[in-house]
């Protein structure tokens, strides 16, 4: 059945042909996915990776039949999919257990609608609970269990309906590191030993190491709109060891794919709202995170670091570090190539500068960012150099979905405030240019 711990590929289960997904109607719509082609076969363990907002979860839900596609075809075993796919189930990030049901009732609840007789239901539920190692906790309520144990119930419940395709929506990201690791191991054991009737697994992940550890295929997506950029086979033999060279090389390669490569400045900056060309969206990076990252890279003698190491040191999910990397690239403080982040001289100056020097460097750079430039010019056009928050939101809403527009402006104001270019008045919701000389003596540090 297995060769080097790999399963022999069988029939095609899922086939997506040119799938797209739009939200909204008429002119006002946002495109979540475009031109997705993907095939999943029996025996495959596929991981979906990509920055947040790239539509991985949407894609998973389209395959599970929770959401319909707006374009293209979704086939399951060659037949078009209508409604919830009866051959799949999802293990959710938040576990999605019913808190008012016991462990056993939660597992049985999945079997009730299928008309499984009561005795059979109980038997199956107890067997699965035993299987995932929760024997003795049948009558416990989810709130009495730890996160890892709760997710075990999530897995037991999913397996109770014996799905052909098991969909995992970041199942380990709400768990502590150790529970997550042990649960991953247990799932791999079940999957590789063929102890479950599941024929294929599709997992959305925010953790590249986890994906490389578990999956045989890494499908990498990018955003605006969500599309697939790479499909990397992972033939490392099982069991995989995280510190092995080949493993690290794989992780590095995937990071390289996801973070991409810093483009020339003009291209990196993009255009302002209202100008021709795609508006450059601001990554949601807080100032403190930007300085923290630059300081860390500056500690390296070469001023250069492997991004996966950075992620490994600070966060579990690459998702948290991507916007910060994007921000330092945009501001010209660092550049990215082949999964490495290197400081530019400017970035180095920032990392080593005093509070005041940092503010000045930041201000000089942030003025080049089209969105900031656009805000400044709008404000300067006003006689009192003030404009309502809503005006900016209205303008940005032409280019972004409403909640993204809010986030964009939040980041812009955060950056603008730090650079002391403009500020925000909470009492009347306006953004304004500060007229008095705002930079006085730097406050002494306590």
């Amino acid at each position: 059945m297995t060769t080097h711990g790999h399963k022999v590929l069988g029939e095609v289960l899922v086939e997506l042909r040119n799938v797209g997904k739009r939200y909204g109607r008429g002119d006002k719509y946002t495109e979540a996915l475009r031109g997705i082609n993907l095939t999943i076969r029996e025996g495959e363990f596929v991981a979906l990776l990509g920055p947040s907002g790239c539509g991985k979860s949407t894609l998973l839900r389209i395959i599970a039949g929770l959401i319909g596609a707006s374009e293209g075809e979704v086939l399951y075993r060659g037949k078009p999919l209508r409604g919830v796919n009866p051959n799949t189930t999802i293990v959710f990030q938040s576990f999605a257990l019913y808190p008012w049901l016991t462990v056993q009732e939660n597992v049985e609840a999945a079997l009730e609608p299928l008309g499984v007789p009561r005795l059979e239901r109980t038997k199956r539920a107890l067997r699965l609970i035993d299987h995932v190692g929760l024997d003795g906790f049948e009558t416990a309520y989810p709130r009495e269990l730890s996160g890892g144990m709760r997710q075990k119930v999530g897995f037991a419940r999913a397996m109770a309906v014996e799905p052909e395709l098991l969909c995992l929506d970041e199942p380990f990201s709400a768990l502590d590191v150790l529970s997550a690791e042990s649960l991953r191991g247990e799932l791999m054991e079940l999957w590789l030993s063929g102890g479950i009737p599941t024929k294929a697994i599709l997992m959305v992940s925010h953790n590249i190491e986890e994906a490389v550890f578990m999956a045989d295929r890494l499908v990498i997506m990018d955003k605006n709109p969500g599309h697939i950029v790479a499909d990397i086979p992972n033939n490392l033999p099982h069991p995989r060891r995280r510190k092995e060279k080949a493993f690290l090389a794989m992780v590095d390669q995937v990071y390289g794919q996801i973070v991409g490569k810093t483009r020339p400045e003009a291209e990196e900056l993009g255009s302002a709202p209202g100008e021709p060309g795609a508006t450059r969206a601001l990554p949601a990076a807080p100032i403190n995170a930007i300085s923290g990252l630059l300081e860390r890279v500056n500690e390296e003698l070469t001023n250069k670091i492997d991004i996966y190491r950075l992620a490994d040191e600070f966060v579990n999910d690459y998702d948290e570090i991507l916007p910060i990397i994007e921000a330092v690239e945009l501001l010209g403080f660092a550049s990215v190539e082949a999964g490495d982040l290197s400081l530019t001289p400017l970035g180095q100056a920032f990392a080593e500068g005093s509070i005041q020097a940092r503010k000045e460097i930041f201000a000089a750079r942030v003025k080049r960012v089209p969105m900031i430039r656009w805000i400044l010019s709008m404000l300067k056009a006003q006689s009192d150099q003030r404009l309502s928050w809503d005006v900016f939101i209205a303008a940005l809403s032409r280019e972004f979905p409403p909640e993204v527009a809010e986030r964009q402006l939040d980041t812009a104001v955060d950056w603008g405030r730090y650079a002391e270019l403009f500020s925000y008045d909470n009492s009347d919701n306006t953004i304004f240019i500060e007229t008095e000389q705002p930079i006085s003596q730097p406050a002494p540090m306590p």
């Binding site: 929770l66 009866p86 999802i90 576990f95 609840a109 609608p113 709130r143």
Partner: protein, 578 residues
């Protein structure tokens, strides 16, 4: 602790729209038409009816109490069913939501009491009187109980975590499984806490419904409310005491034997996955859960019923087309437009007749409506000020002192759930016989009915002040007024607003009973909108009744939209602890 939970769950529907939209105007029109239709029916009632006999012998009190509770229970069950159905549709269907939500919003701010004559008279026109009056009382209580419950249920369905919803879909729950396994359990806590509040509010209106007369038409019903009024009429202090005692006893019994156990039981449906360190307790619940007989009955009756329902209604969801927004077919569009046109035509036709009725009211009467509106507004305002003046200090004291809270909280709860209307006859009697202005009585009566909302919210707000913030305030040595200004008042603000919104709505409503009273052969009243409504009811002047009722509805809706909602938003944005 309980008050704290109340605050979060009882927050009434403060949606986003701060201005009157088309939907609101349509609803107000619809409401006006409904009033008009009721009035039409009402004016065709036969003029003289037999007077109900109310016995003052204390021995009949248990029977009367039972009658009152029966009415309450019928209205409550009706409210529960309505809430679930209405909330379900509003939450499930996008297009239904657009209509149902604004309707709910207006209906919950309309003075219920002034609809009583219309409902009673309209029903007597089509049903035998005995049935009609019972039904009218039930309908009235229903309208006082239902809105917050409906809103709570709707809100719960809308806030159901996405992944729980998706899990239900992935595991192919059909509507029944979904309702019983997911929607109802999730909504149960909010629904129950709101039921408790609705039940208390229901008493208030039950009292009014039982002692109802229009002109020479006597529609009184045998019950505790009518007993109390009859006792006051007869100046029989012993009977009044018996009546009040019975009422308090019922309130306490129901609280201990029904609501409390339910509140304990419903804790298990809490979504928070951490244990509550201060859950509600009930001796009766403990008794029941230790009893074999109760267990067996539960097994047979409740579990049995649920199983039977499961067998009948449960099943896997068929393959439905996935959620997809698709444009309407032209026939659907045409049907919609047609339905809307018919509706608008009917509304306009009836609206014209309504305007004729309103035109028949003399200019003089309109002057009284205007003067009454101002007077009642001033009375509501003073009631709110007095309520704040005593509830803020006391609430802060209770809220910041757990030992005091343990001792006072149950007393406050009983006081709050004893209907103020029960004391109206007594208070009027005392005040009038001592030669004090009836104005004082009116404000006092409004206050009695509404101050509790403010008190509860102040207590909740105080307990919600984070400990760190208190400690910091101590470290900074803020004392006296400075402490109130810097810490306590800003923290209380959102809670205070929530309490005041409910209280002022209640006060407008209470003005109808508070500003006008008849005892023996005497009529006591003051200038006011509520008094006008009562007076028009007593005289059978339907033109004036309609004009005054509509004025009150519009005024309350406008005050809510333009005054409270703004404050509420300010509170939510600026003064909310995160």
């Amino acid at each position: 602790m309980e008050a704290l939970r109340r605050k979060t769950i009882f927050a009434t529907g403060q949606g986003d729209a701060a201005y009157l939209g088309w939907a609101d105007i349509l609803i107000l029109l619809g409401l006006a038409v409904a009033v008009y239709l009721g009035v039409q029916l009402a004016s065709s009632t036969p003029p003289s009816l037999a007077r109900a006999e109310i016995d003052l012998n204390p021995q009949v009190l248990p029977y009367y109490a039972l009658q009152s509770v029966r009415r309450m229970a019928a209205a409550y069950i009706l409210s529960l069913l309505f809430s679930i159905v209405y909330g379900y549709f509003a939450a499930r269907s996008r297009s239904a939501e657009r209509v149902l939500l604004p309707v709910l919003d207006v209906l919950q701010s309309v003075p219920i009491l002034s609809f009583l004559p219309v409902v009673v008279l309209a029903l007597t026109a089509v049903l035998p009187q005995a049935v009609a009056v019972e039904l009218a009382a039930i309908v009235l209580i229903f309208t006082s109980q239902v809105w917050n419950m409906t809103y709570s249920f709707y809100q719960s369905l809308r806030t159901l975590p996405r992944e729980l919803r998706e899990a239900a879909s992935v595991f192919r729950f059909n509507w029944w499984w979904r309702f019983r396994r997911v929607d109802l359990p999730f909504a149960s806590i909010g629904l129950l806490w709101n039921s408790v509040m609705s039940w208390a509010g229901g008493w208030f209106f039950l009292m009014a419904a039982e002692i109802f007369t229009v002109g020479d038409k006597d529609f009184r019903l045998p019950g505790v409310g009518s007993y109390l009024q009859e006792a006051a009429n007869a100046n029989d202090t012993t009977a009044i005491l018996y009546g009040v005692l019975t009422l308090v006893l019922i309130v306490v019994l129901l609280d201990q034997l029904v609501w409390r156990p339910l509140l304990v039981w419903v804790e298990k449906f809490k979504i928070e996955t951490v244990e509550n360190d201060n859950p509600p307790t009930s001796w009766f619940y403990n008794l029941l859960s230790g009893s074999r007989l109760a267990g067996a009955l539960h097994q047979v009756l409740i579990v049995g019923t649920i199983k039977a329902l499961d067998r009948r209604l449960g099943g896997a969801r068929r393959f439905e087309p996935a959620e997809q927004e698709r444009p309407l077919h032209w026939t659907q569009r045409a049907a919609r437009i047609l339905a809307l046109t018919i509706f608008v035509v009917i509304v306009i036709a009836l609206g014209i007749q309504l305007i004729q009725l309103l035109l028949s009211v003399s200019l003089d009467d309109y002057g009284r409506v205007a003067a009454g509106t101002v007077a009642t507004a001033l009375r509501v305002l003073s009631a709110m000020l007095i309520a704040m003046a005593w509830t803020i200090p006391l609430g802060v004291l209770i809220g910041s002192n757990p030992r005091l809270a343990n001792f006072l909280q149950p007393l406050v709860q009983i006081a709050a759930s004893t209907p103020a209307t029960a004391f109206f006859p007594l208070i009027v009697l005392v005040i009038v016989s001592n030669g004090i202005s009836f104005n004082v009585a009116a404000v006092l009566l409004m206050l009695l009915g509404t101050q509790w909302y403010v008190l509860f919210n102040v207590i909740a707000g105080t307990t919600a002040i984070p400990k760190d913030l208190r400690d910091m305030t101590d470290l900074l040595r803020f004392k006296g007024w400075n402490r109130w200004r810097k810490l306590i008042l800003p923290s209380l603000f959102p809670y205070l607003i929530t309490g005041l919104i409910t209280a002022s709505g209640g006060a407008w409503n209470a003005s109808i009973v508070a500003e006008y009273a008849e005892f023996g052969q005497q009529t006591y009243n003051v200038i006011g909108l509520g008094a006008l409504i009562s007076e028009a009811t007593a005289k059978g002047d339907f033109g004036l009744l309609t004009a005054a009722t509509l004025t009150m509805s519009v005024v309350v809706v406008i005050i809510n939209r333009y005054f409270w909602r703004r404050l509420y938003r300010l509170a939510a944005e600026r003064y909310t602890m995160e």
